[in-house]
């Protein structure tokens, strides 16, 4: 099948995560294919965000969070003290549940990452990065005349696309999205989904979603989490048409408490 031919981009092996004494993820094994959208679904509190935050080591920020086990990206381990998280996060962008543009102009929001990573030497190089990022995030036409306005002056959906553009500005290979549409209306959601479809041609995307319909629409592979464990991972088609696990079946049909 098509799945077999895909190159594995991210591979989690025996991943356990603890918040203090409480274990949030149990023995997670998951493969995420390159240039494809992988959806993570599951009831609230099952550890989807925890998992996705392991991929760019965002859990480092939380004092009480301990991660053990292995995550390999392109075959190299990231849960290693020697790995430079700055370089890692340049490679792995993230978009959050609530749009979180910085208190800066639209332009500066996009330029933020490239400045930190020293990606542009001259002004016109930076202009270029800003323009391409905004174009990739399908926001350019709406904001090209108001780049100096604060990012927060945009609508919610535009802000979320701004955040996507911000993530794209440092040319990542992977984009992690944690419920990127949960704060948006259906029209803005449709725009973002369209965008995800476009982006998967060049990026590996992992998306957490509570919307079954969204998972079906945008993803090729779906993982179902429950109480910190992976219950089932398969092609989206299979998961939603013919899941092999009873719990998955119950969850996707909404018969789940």
């Amino acid at each position: 099948m098509e799945l077999e031919n895909k190159k594995i981009k991210i591979q989690a092996k025996n991943l356990n995560v603890y918040y203090g004494a409480k274990q949030a993820l149990f023995n997670i094994n998951l493969e995420i294919n390159q240039k494809e959208v992988t959806a993570l679904i599951g009831p609230s509190g099952c550890g989807k965000s925890t998992f996705i935050r392991c991929i760019n080591r965002m859990n480092d920020v939380i004092d009480i969070c301990k991660v053990d086990g292995s995550i390999e990206i392109d075959g190299s381990e990231i849960n290693d003290k020697k790995v430079d998280v700055v370089m890692l996060r340049e490679k792995i962008g993230m978009v959050f549940q609530k749009p979180n543009p910085f208190p800066k102009s639209i332009y500066d929001n996009i330029a933020y990452g490239p400045i930190i990573h020293g990606l542009a030497e001259e002004k016109n190089q930076m202009d270029n990065i800003v323009e391409t990022s905004l174009k990739k995030a399908a926001l350019w036409d709406e904001v090209k005349d108001r780049l100096d306005e604060p990012g927060t002056s945009l609508s919610g959906g535009q802000q979320q696309r701004l955040c996507i553009a911000r993530a794209l500005s440092v040319s990542p290979e992977v984009i992690l999205m944690d419920e990127p549409c949960s704060a948006l209306d259906p029209i803005a959601t449709a725009k973002i989904e369209e965008l995800i479809d476009e982006l998967k041609k060049s990026y590996t995307i992992v998306i957490v979603t509570h919307s079954m319909a969204q998972a079906v629409r945008v993803s090729q592979k779906t993982g179902f989490f429950h109480m910190g464990k992976i219950i089932e991972v398969d092609s989206t088609d299979k998961i939603f048409k013919n899941p092999s696990n009873k719990m998955t079946q119950d969850y996707i049909t909404g018969r789940f408490g």
Partner: protein, 459 residues
């Protein structure tokens, strides 16, 4: 006696609470349903019992002495220095007068005794009838099963409104008196001379009524009230203080909010806030006795002349005093910057300090500016440290090693000791107060504008 009356009013009010409550309970017979919980009827009756009586009591006590004084003095229209005469009468009445007892004093004292007694009795009568009338009124309402909850709400609303009215009216009153006295001052001294004159020496002004000043004296006075050195001194010392307090306070706030572990934070924040609780006099003598002399000997060893009371010493200590204001406010403000902004920045590969510098601080800026401006007005209003450490000489200087003085200090200097209320020197204090008030008002206005502008940008 007044205390007893007050206690009686309160006791009545308290007991009418229980009375009202039980009366309301009695109403519940058959299919009559109360409009509110019985306790509300209690409150209703208690409020009606207490408030009118208290208002009458308070009002009467406030005006009693003035009215009696006016009445007595109106009988003695031919007497000079009437206030003094009245004082004597009172002390004679109280049995501790030791001067020459005139016939008028005796008569007035008898009259006082009579009026005082009358006033006292009528006060009791009035309060008693107020209690009776309002309790009867309220009791009738209860019997008719009134909407006690709404009525209590209404009474409380009026009470709260009156409180805010008192606050507003007092403020207005203070401003009005400032204005009034300042206008008197400016009718003697030209406002231009006051605002732009560069020499301040009010001790040259004679301690006496402004209306009796001769033209020669007036010319002499003309340049005694130049307030520029005071404003310059105030601004200068505040500037030195801010140079100390802003960086240290801000960095401390950033450390507490972003770097300190919870346990460090738990202990160090209260410790820093203790600084804010130290009385300013203590800072003052620390500045005057320790820091000032230290600078002086340091300066001497470097071959500089440093006066032992210097702007530097005062500003430095004032700065230290202000640190906790800035640090704990900016700590709170930085803490309230949403975590999602920080995560957004980390997620793109920014380090902690980059995130603080480029995301957290800009987002917290309006609040930080606000806290700094608050600290500035604190510095401008500070008196004690300056009195003790910066000296009283109104030097117009920008040398931090010399002594200077500030507006508040000069107001203190003018008003301590015996002063004739009408001398230009005393009125100058009001003029200074007014100018200071306008200056801080302006500062606050700017602060609000700045904060609002940033708000619009970042929220």
């Amino acid at each position: 006696m007044n205390l007893l009356l007050l206690a009686i009013i309160l006791a009545f009010s308290l007991s009418s609470y229980f009375f009202g409550r039980s009366e309301a309970r009695k109403l519940v017979t058959g299919n009559i349903k109360l409009n509110a919980l019985p306790a509300y009827y209690g409150y209703f009756l208690a409020l009606w019992c207490g408030l009118p009586a208290l208002i009458i009591f308070g009002g009467w006590s406030l005006f009693e002495s003035t009215i009696i004084k006016t009445l007595i003095l109106s009988d003695f229209s031919n007497i000079q220095s009437r206030d003094l005469f009245y004082e004597r009468t009172l002390s004679f009445f109280n049995g501790n007068f030791s001067g020459e007892i005139t016939n008028e004093i005796k008569v007035a004292s008898e009259r006082y005794a009579y009026l005082n007694n009358l006033a006292h009795n009528s006060k009791i009568a009035l309060v008693a009838s107020a209690i009776i009338a309002s309790v009867v009124f309220a009791y009738k309402k209860i019997k008719n099963n009134n909407k006690a909850r709404d009525d209590v709400e209404k009474i409380l609303k009026i009470l709260l409104f009156t409180s805010s009215l008192v606050a507003i009216l007092t403020t207005l009153g203070i401003i009005a008196s400032l204005l009034f006295e300042s206008i008197k001052f400016f009718s003697t001294i030209n406002i231009i001379d006051f605002l732009f004159g560069t020499s301040w020496s009010p001790q040259r002004a004679f301690v006496r009524d402004a209306s009796t000043i001769t033209p020669e004296e007036f010319l002499e006075l003309k340049d005694a009230f130049g307030s520029v050195p005071l404003f310059a001194g105030t601004a200068f010392i505040a500037l030195i203080a801010m140079c100390v307090a802003v960086p240290i306070g801000l960095f401390a706030g950033i450390y507490l909010a972003e770097y300190a572990s919870t346990s460090v934070r738990k202990y160090s924040k209260p410790i820093i806030e203790i600084l804010a609780g130290i009385p300013t006099v203590v800072y003052g003598f620390f500045a005057a006795l320790t820091v000032g002399p230290f600078f002086r000997s340091l300066g001497e060893s470097l071959g500089l002349t440093v006066s032992s009371e210097s702007a530097l010493a005062a500003g430095l200590i004032m700065g230290i005093m202000i640190i906790p204001y800035i640090s704990s406010l900016s700590d709170d403000i930085i803490n309230s910057v949403p975590q999602s902004l920080r995560e957004g920045s980390y997620a793109i590969g920014a380090t902690k300090s980059e995130t603080i510098k480029k995301v957290v601080i800009p987002a917290a800026l309006p609040g930080i500016i606000g806290s700094i401006l608050l600290a500035v007005s604190r510095a401008i209003g500070e008196t004690m440290i300056v009195v003790m450490a910066a000296g009283l000489a109104a030097n117009l200087t920008i040398n931090p090693l010399e002594s200077t003085t500030t507006i508040t200090t000069q107001i203190v200097m003018i008003l301590v000791g015996d002063q004739e209320f009408d001398s230009p020197k005393t009125q100058a204090a009001f003029a200074l107060g007014l100018t200071l008030f306008i200056a801080t008002l302006f500062l606050n206005y700017i602060a609000l504008r700045v904060v609002k502008k940033y708000r619009e940008k970042y929220d």
